[in-house]
């Protein structure tokens, strides 16, 4: 039986990827942030999953406006790295987990989630920056990946209830997979940030910390937070945080907090990071 062993939440700031790729992680600006992920890299070495289901959003990198799925899933053997305008990040190609992905996509559709199935997908910083933060700079990623792109860019985004609910369905589906796999679910994006307009640069660290508390302790209440509140309180791009709800839904009712980290700023963003594990018998 496959099982979900942990959930990871982390911001996915593009400048963090650039800092890694240019070897600038020891600079004064960046060091405090990267230091905050040292625990996680160590923890991840000891808890490397077979497969990471990475919930993220594409940032106009692979998907143009021709087609905008609400929930999609990459079931391919591998996923190339997007050119986001600066040339592709120099990171290894991302290896897929087609057997689990096929099972998962089918299970979700049978559970009335209207998935878009992707046999071809290139992945952007939303997916690769979290991998760099958790795994460093290996020649080959140590885990296989199922990309789960969510529309968080165009209103209307999926509701918080829908996000928590698809997370729960992912948990059920993973547990029904015939195969002994250790699976993690990663929720990426956020925390508070706004990268457009006269209000750009908005950061709301107290709100971010409360969001983390609620995500851990009260996801059934947090799911009803309207998107308008994310946008007002955490900035127009803060609404990415609904993707953390998917990760949380996949962990079951109660969780243990393994690690928590906050840092301001990385580029325009409040960085937040959690490692959670399902509480036994929950």
């Amino acid at each position: 039986m496959a099982r979900i062993s942990a959930g990871i939440a982390t911001s996915h700031v593009p400048a963090v990827g650039a800092a890694i790729d240019m070897g600038r992680t020891d600079e004064d600006y960046w060091k405090p942030m990267f230091d905050g992920y040292e625990f996680s890299k160590q923890w991840m070495r000891e808890n490397t999953p077979d497969v990471a289901i990475i919930v993220y959003n594409d940032h106009a990198s692979y998907f143009g406006m021709e087609i905008m799925p609400t929930f999609a899933m990459g079931i391919a053997d591998s996923f190339a790295i997007c050119d986001e305008g600066y040339g592709p990040r120099p990171v290894p190609v991302v290896e897929g987990a087609p057997e689990l992905a096929t099972h998962l996509a089918a299970s979700l559709i049978l559970d009335d989630f209207d998935m878009t199935v992707l046999n071809v997908l290139e992945v952007d910083h939303g997916l690769t920056v979290p991998m760099s933060l958790m795994f460093g700079t290996p020649d080959k990623w140590p885990t296989k990946v199922i990309p789960l792109p969510v529309n968080v860019v165009m209103y209307p985004q999926p509701s918080g209830e829908r996000c928590l609910s698809i997370g729960k369905a992912i948990r059920r589906a993973v547990e029904q997979f015939d195969g002994d796999l250790d699976v993690q679910v990663w929720g990426t994006g956020g925390m508070s940030h706004q990268i457009q307009g006269a209000r750009a640069g908005l950061i709301n660290l107290p709100w971010d910390k409360q969001f983390m508390d609620d995500l851990i302790n009260e996801p059934e209440v947090l799911q009803y937070k309207p998107h308008l509140e994310y946008m007002v309180e955490a900035g127009s791009e803060g609404v990415e945080l609904i993707m953390w709800l998917i990760m949380r839904g996949a962990l079951g009712e109660h969780v243990d907090e393994v690690y928590r980290f906050n840092h301001v700023p990385a580029s325009n963003t409040s960085v937040g990071h959690l490692i959670l594990t399902p509480k036994e018998h929950s």
Binding site: A60, M65, D83, P156, Q196, G197, P265
Partner: protein, 132 residues
Amino acid sequence: MKPDFHQFDDIPGTTIFTIEKARAGFHLNQFCMSLRSAENRERFLADQRTYLDEWEMTEEQKQAVIDRDFQKMLDTGGNVYFLSKIFASEGLSYVQAVSTMTDMTTEQYQAMMLAGGRNLEGWRSKKERGEA
């Protein structure tokens, strides 16, 4: 549930990219997408007007691109992730480009970020600010 495209109108200094805006900005954003290839980035930078004329954009959108007036691009349906391909083609970072939409210089903006970012107080509502 009936969509409410106006619920965001009271947020100061913020343009929410709705499905309606996405329709208005479609060709502008598709032009931006084309800059994902190095070849197109070169062609665009070599002769911006000619490159822009290959797209069914409004004259206002084209001029906004030439002026690097990102606020105008947002107003006419652009989304910042798409628009990022324009400033990426010139090697500019998000901070450099984003700061041009504020009333700060890039240095002032950087300093604000280093000091913890923009404080939300006073930035929740146009009505509260007397802008509405």
